[in-house]
């Protein structure tokens, strides 16, 4: 499969960081 176009793909690479932060925030909030 071609790769030169993939570089234009929009991927949320940091999603896990935001998921983790949100989880910790609400776990504390509901601690």
């Amino acid at each position: 499969m071609a790769t030169e176009y993939l570089v234009h793909e929009k991927v949320w690479f940091d999603k896990f960081k935001y998921d983790d932060a949100e989880r910790q925030y609400y776990e504390q909030l509901n601690g």
Partner: protein
């Protein structure tokens, strides 16, 4: 008509999608969000929860008949009705288009901009400025689409409006102050029309639009 239990932590905008959909469909949903029924960070890590919901995330829905589904858009779809889902293939495809748009185009920049103002994430000036530009781009697209429309798909509220409104909640609550949102009047008009619908209001309460853009919470 669906009936069952929604597991979530309180005030979870992802869970709001299913709860608002249920207000339209009449689906009976019991929310388990606080002890003794549910303790976020504990209950969702127990073997019995993970057996039903292997990803261990919330919201998660368990029907009275034992049917289990996770992923917020799938839950909202399940507890909705045909009007909300889109009652032609074309309408249903457009609903899915905007539901996907909310997750892929709105959620990343909205989280990047808003989380530091809530003290959830470290502030990063460059990331925030980029996120603001992305949010503007999204609002331009929505504003043009809503210029000639009351709702995103067809003539009535659908899961598209519910999903996009819920993905914009934090933005409109925290940072879209009047000066910033001024160029996107059609979006704000649509957003206010939706959140003032009794079905939205019964889940969200009275929604107050942001008056002053929150800065990051050092």
């Amino acid at each position: 008509m669906a009936a069952g239990t929604l597991y979530t932590y309180p005030e979870n905008w992802r869970a709001f999608k299913a709860l608002i959909a249920a207000q339209y469909s009449g689906a009976q949903i019991t929310v388990h969000s606080v002890p003794p029924h549910f303790q976020f960070g504990q209950t969702n890590k127990t073997p019995e929860f993970l057996k039903k919901f292997p990803v261990g995330k919330v919201p998660a829905f368990e029907g009275a008949d034992g049917f289990c589904v996770f992923e917020s858009n799938a839950i909202a779809y399940y507890v909705a009705n045909e009007d909300l889902r889109g009652n032609t293939v074309a309408a249903a495809a457009q609903v899915l288009q905007w539901v996907s748009f909310a997750d892929s185009e709105i959620l990343p920049p909205a989280s990047t901009w808003v989380f530091p103002t809530l003290g959830i994430m470290q502030y990063n000036k460059q990331a925030t400025e980029h996120a603001k530009e992305e949010v503007k781009r999204v609002l331009v697209i929505l504003d043009a689409h809503l210029k000639t429309r009351t709702f995103l798909v067809g003539e009535r509220v659908t899961l598209a409006d519910i999903a996009v409104v819920c993905s914009l909640l934090w933005l409109y609550k925290q940072v879209l102050e009047p000066a910033f949102r001024q160029p996107y009047g059609n979006v704000t008009r649509w957003f206010v029309t939706c959140v003032n619908q009794p079905q939205f209001q019964s889940v969200l309460g009275d929604f107050k639009l942001c008056e002053k853009m929150a800065q990051f919470d050092a």
